[in-house]
Every structure is written in structure tokens, then in C-alpha cells.
């Protein structure tokens, strides 16, 4: 399981970074989205990987915390997902505005001289 997750994070990061450095705004947005997926998985991994362990402890008496997954990273990931969602949406709007104003989808607002 660790190797699968590590590979997933690595692939997402690599493709995200590659797209981030592309000259088209849409590619940059996609790159940032892929990077944020990678980061979310990474946060989850920071709380140690567990399967079949619930994160929420019920009300019944004393429990052994070792049987439970760490709930903090999951809460962090939730917050991070919401925030990256919102910022990506905002970036898309700016992308459209920039496309409308400059007439090109190059990140600098003008085509390179070639």
C-alpha cells in the first residue's frame, strides 16, 4: 500500500510540476490541481497509513487509541481540499478575464516572439 501511495504522489507531483511550467494558462491551472491532489495524499500519508481503522472515537468508556486512525490529517485534508477548490475556481475566472483582455492564453499575456 505504501508503494502505491508513494507512486501516486510522485506521478501526480511530476505531472503537476511539468504542467505548471507550461506556457498556456489552462495547463498551469491543471498543473496546480494535480499538485494539490498530490499534496492532499501527502498530508494523509503524514498521519501514517492505516486500513480498517476508524478515525472517530465513540462515547463508550476508555478506548485504546492504537486501534484508531489519526483524525487530524483527515481534517487537514478536508480543509485543504475546500481551499484549493475555491482558489482554483478563482484562478479560472482570472484566466478567462486574462484571455478576454489580452486575446491570448499565454501566461504572460502575449505570445513569445519566435
Amino acid at each position: 500500500m505504501e508503494i502505491v501511495l508513494a507512486l501516486a504522489i510522485g506521478t501526480l507531483t511530476a505531472s503537476g510540476l511539468w504542467l505548471l511550467f507550461r506556457p498556456r494558462t489552462f495547463q498551469v491551472v491543471l498543473g496546480l490541481s494535480l499538485l494539490s491532489y498530490a499534496v492532499n495524499l501527502f498530508i494523509l500519508a503524514a498521519g501514517r497509513l492505516r486500513t480498517d481503522a476508524p478515525p472517530v472515537i465513540g462515547r463508550e468508556g476508555t478506548v485504546d487509541p492504537a486501534l484508531y486512525a489519526d483524525p487530524v490529517p483527515q481534517a487537514l485534508v478536508l480543509t485543504a481540499i475546500v481551499i484549493s477548490f475555491a482558489t482554483t475556481a478563482l484562478l479560472l475566472v482570472v484566466l478567462l478575464a486574462s484571455r478576454g483582455l489580452t486575446g491570448t492564453d499565454h501566461v504572460d499575456g502575449e505570445e513569445e516572439e519566435s
Binding site: L20, T25, V28, L32, L35, S36, V39, F42, I43, A45, A46, G47, R48, V72, P73, L76, T79, A80, I83, S84, A86, T87, T88, L90, L91, V94, L95, L96, A97, S98, G100, L101, T102, V107, D108, G109
Partner: protein
């Protein structure tokens, strides 16, 4: 710890947030109402910060001791629940922010808040985020407040629209989203190494981190630090800064002057709290990086000031010089130096804000095409629904002697930024140099910092004088533009604050010394947070 005074600490976050949500309900036709509301809010924030400042330095209620003021949100004990902490440093930054916010908002009423929709909402939201970042006591909430302030700043950068703003903000947003991702990676790595995100708890656990995990912790902190350094504009991560700030509307740029200082604040706080002298193996691990990248930033900023052709670019590069000075000084560390750098932080932030505000009326006179027009065509049709059809006249009285007032203010700014006596800029730089000389041995790094401080001051002086001669002394053919009292008053207020810094340098330095002392006293901070009594519990 009784009554409403204890709850006052949440006000700097909740008050602007609530008012900004409320203002969202009114459309652009109710502008007068919005102005009254937002100005009153920011005015109240100044009052609240002053009360908090008094609380922190005199103690609350019956216990007259200066201690960090801790507030448990949700009433869970500290490492598990979320805490707000107000200590000397955070209330100082709160006061600085509200003061800048007030002046920028006041200035915006001249015409800038009309150049696009929902200015006041975003402005208050930005203040919410900044105040939250100063007050929060754990790293993840810091991320949340950072995102709040960034999201609001994205909106404000775009305020007024226009091609230049849109394309500058595209870069700004992309860089900041990438930096936020670094922030998250850093947080996750620190959590993996220590199992906590509460700053006080982290300070306790970091000395206990086993040697095998030290690399994980340090790389986590380094990644986290990079995110803040991007914000504070360190070289080579600062190329976005001067262009973005130049493209922003002047009142927005003035408020952004404090946003770079948010990054500086976090670096200062974390490097003292988490990686101070008693942090075992991890102590001071990045100090050399801070010092040398600070130097590189100062050098880059100095060259930038000399080569800039527009005043807004000069101001943007001065922001870099100021950040570089602060970071290098943080890296060198020491009690006296920290007090001096705090004074420099306050003085330079106020002066930069004043410069950003004064640039626009000064440059209004030039023949050049107005690159960043105040009002641009809306990009999306629905943006302006409800906007008034015709623009009302400039409010306020147009005052005579424009050139004299602008020239005077500009010279004042130049002296402040260049660090010439007798103004507060000089006192701040002198204090930094004096603190460096007070070390037992003066290292080559100290000499380098002194040299760079003096050179950058000289470059600022040259850059601003050249621009001033161009803009103010060259006789203009057309009559000088009208200058409204609404624009002059906030600039005057900022410069008067700098004068007050100069006149009251003694007591203010005493406060800065206390702040540096409080930063050095990690155990007091940790104890105050971890032993904070829950509401309803009786204090022992």
C-alpha cells in the same frame, strides 16, 4: 480574566468578518452606507488593538503581570483545541495593521473604492485574514488565515480590472497557490515528525525529536519557511512582487505593504519559538540561509531601486530591501537586534504605505499615458449590476497649494525611506547598526549587513530624489491636478505616525525591548498556552 475584556481577543477576527459578510448584502448603490460601516469597523479595530496592547503589557484584571493572553476557542485544552494567543509581538502587528488599514481605506474613499465592485467587503476580509494570522496559536490555522488573506488579496489585486492588473494578478495568484501547497507540505512533514501542530506544543516537542527524525523535521520547517519567504519577497522568489504591487490600486498596495510583513512575522515567531537556543539539535538550523538570502534580497532591491523607471517600481523594490534587512537581522538574532528590527519593521512599513499613497497624486501630473487607469471596462457584465449610472463628483474639498503639499510629503517620505536623520527611519537603522556593534565580536556578516543597510539607504535616496526632481520640479504646463483632502489626510496621518515614532522613540523602544524579551522567553509562552484555564474552571 473576567467579563468581555477576556473575549476581546476574538474581535479583530470576528468583527471585520461579520461586517464584511453584512456588506455583501448591500449593492453598489449603497456606497455611503458601506463606507460608514467599513470605516467604523477599521476604526474600532484600532481601538481594540490599543486595548489589547494595554492588556498584554499590563496584564488582565486582577493579575497585573505581562503575560501572553491566551484564548481557547471552543474551550478545549490547548494542544487539542484551537487557541488564539496575543502577546507583545502579535498585538504590535495588529495595531500596525489596523492603522494601515484605516489610512488605506480612508484614502480609497477619494475614488478608488468606486473603480470596481465589492471593495469594502474584500478589504475587511483581508484584514480578517491578516489579524487571524497574527493571533493564531497553531500552524494549521495559520494556513487557513493565510488562505483567507490571500483569497481577499486576489480580489483586491484585481480591483479596478484592466489588462495590466489582470495579467499581473494571474502570476500573483499562481505563485501564491504554489506557495500554499508548499505550506501544506511543510505542515504535513512537521506533523509527521512531531505529531502536533500547536506552536507551544511544538516548542516543547522539538527538543525531544529523535535524531533519526530530525532530517524530516528540518526539511518540513524549511519547506514551510519557503512558503513564508515567498510571501515576504525573498530573492530569488520575489520577481512577482514589484510588478504586482505596482499594478495594484494605491490603497491596496499600501495595505499590501503589511502583507509582506506577515511572512516576516511568522519567520520571526517560529525561529524564536521553535528553533531558538534551547531547541536542542534543531536550534537555529536555517539562520545562515536567512542571513545570506536576506543579503541577496537587499542587493537585488538596491539594484532594482536604481534601475527602476517608475516610482511604483521603486516602492516595490524598497519593499524588498526592507524584507531583506529584516530577514538578515532575524538570521543574526540577539535581543538588542530583535528590538531594533521590530522598530525598523514598524517604521519602514508605515513609510512604504505612505509612499504608495503619495505616488499616485504625484504621478497624476505627468504627461505619460496613465498605465494603470483607475476605472476600466468591466470584464464580466454582471459585475456592475446596481452600480450607479453616473459618477458623483469627488467628495471633499479641493485644497490649494497642491504642489507644496505633495512636495513636502514626498520629501518627508524620501527622508524616512532613505534613513536620514532625524526621522524614524534613521533611528531604526541606527538602532540596528548599534545592536550589531554591541556584539562582543563583530563578524564579517555584521559588517556586510551594515554596509548593505547604508548602501540601500543611499540608493533609495538617489532613486527617490531623481524621481522627485522629474515629477515635482519640472515645471508642468498644465495646472496641477486637484488634490482632495481625503487623499491628503491619510498620508498626513501615516507621516504623523512616523513623527510620533521619532518623538516617542524612547518609550516605543522600551516596548520593543519587552517584545524581544517576550520572544526570547519561550517557557512563558509555552506555559501560558498549555496551562490556559478553560472557561468555567476555577483558577488555582
Amino acid at each position: 480574566m473576567s467579563g468581555w475584556m477576556h473575549h476581546l481577543i476574538v474581535a479583530p477576527i470576528v468583527l471585520p468578518l461579520a461586517i464584511s459578510a453584512l456588506l455583501l448584502a448591500f449593492d453598489e448603490r449603497r456606497r455611503a452606507l458601506k463606507r460608514v460601516f467599513s470605516l467604523a469597523t477599521v476604526g474600532a479595530l484600532i481601538g481594540i488593538s490599543i486595548i489589547l496592547l494595554w492588556q498584554v503589557s499590563h496584564g488582565v484584571g486582577a493579575s497585573p503581570v505581562a503575560a501572553p493572553h491566551v484564548y481557547l476557542l471552543g474551550n478545549w485544552p490547548a494542544p487539542f483545541g484551537i487557541v488564539l494567543v496575543a502577546d507583545h509581538l502579535s498585538v504590535l502587528m495588529l495595531l500596525l495593521t489596523s492603522l494601515l488599514g484605516f489610512t488605506a481605506l480612508f484614502y480609497a474613499m477619494a475614488r478608488w473604492d468606486r473603480s470596481g465592485p465589492r471593495f469594502h467587503v474584500l478589504f475587511l476580509l483581508l484584514l480578517t485574514g491578516i489579524n487571524g494570522a497574527f493571533l493564531t496559536g497553531d500552524i494549521f490555522n495559520l494556513f487557513v488565515f493565510f488562505e483567507v488573506l490571500l483569497a481577499a488579496s486576489y480580489g483586491l489585486i484585481l480591483h479596478g480590472a484592466g489588462t495590466e492588473r489582470t495579467s499581473a494578478s494571474l502570476h500573483y495568484i499562481t505563485i501564491n497557490i504554489a506557495a500554499s501547497l508548499l505550506f501544506l507540505i511543510g505542515v504535513a512533514m512537521i506533523y509527521a515528525a512531531t505529531g502536533t501542530l500547536n506552536m507551544a506544543d511544538l516548542a516543547e516537542r522539538i527538543p525531544l525529536v529523535p535524531a533519526a527524525d530530525l532530517a524530516l523535521l528540518e526539511s518540513g520547517a524549511a519547506v514551510l519557511g519557503t512558503a513564508f519567504l515567498v510571501k515576504s519577497g525573498i530573492w530569488p522568489l520575489s520577481f512577482w512582487l514589484s510588478r504586482t504591487y505596482a499594478a495594484a490600486a494605491p490603497p491596496v498596495a499600501a495595505l499590501f505593504a503589511v502583507m509582506t510583513k506577515v511572512g516576516i512575522y511568522i519567520i520571526l515567531r517560529l525561529s524564536w519559538l521553535l528553533f531558538g537556543d534551547t531547541s536542542g539539535e534543531a536550534a537555529g538550523f536555517a539562520d545562515n540561509w536567512l542571513i545570506w538570502s536576506g543579503f541577496a534580497t537587499m542587493l537585488f532591491g538596491t539594484i532594482g531601486i536604481l534601475s527602476a523607471r517608475t516610482l511604483t517600481r521603486v516602492a516595490g523594490h524598497y519593499v524588498l530591501v526592507s524584507s531583506g534587512t529584516l530577514l538578515a537581522a532575524i538570521g543574526i538574532g540577539g535581543h538588542a537586534l530583535t528590538a531594533a528590527l521590530l522598530f525598523y519593521l514598524v517604521s519602514s512599513t508605515l513609510a512604504i504605505a505612505a509612499l504608495y499613497l503619495i505616488i499616485e497624486p504625484v504621478e497624476r501630473n505627468t504627461d505619460e499615458e496613465d498605465v494603470v487607469a483607475g476605472v476600466a471596462e468591466p470584464v464580466f457584465d454582471d459585475e456592475y449590476t446596481g452600480a450607479p449610472e453616473e459618477e458623483e463628483d469627488e467628495i471633499g474639498i479641493v485644497i490649494p497649494g497642491t504642489i507644496a503639499i505633495l512636495g513636502g510629503g514626498f520629501i518627508f517620505c524620501t527622508l524616512l525611506l532613505g534613513g536620514l536623520p532625524p526621522l524614524s527611519g534613521f533611528i531604526a537603522k541606527f538602532a540596528i547598526i548599534d545592536a550589531l556593534f554591541r556584539h562582543a565580536t563583530i563578524t564579517p556578516t555584521s559588517w556586510l549587513l551594515i554596509g548593505l543597510i547604508i548602501c540601500s539607504g543611499l540608493a533609495t535616496l538617489i532613486g527617490l530624489t531623481r524621481a522627485g526632481i522629474d515629477l515635482l520640479w519640472t515645471p508642468a504646463e498644465d495646472t496641477p491636478p486637484p488634490l482632495s483632502i481625503i487623499e491628503v489626510a491619510p498620508i498626513g496621518l501615516l507621516l504623523a505616525t512616523c513623527l510620533a515614532l521619532m518623538v516617542g522613540a524612547g518609550p516605543i523602544f522600551l516596548y520593543m525591548e519587552k517584545t524581544a524579551g517576550a520572544l526570547g522567553d519561550r517557557s512563558a509562552y509555552v506555559e501560558a498556552v498549555l496551562k490556559a484555564p478553560r472557561a468555567g474552571e476555577i483558577q488555582p
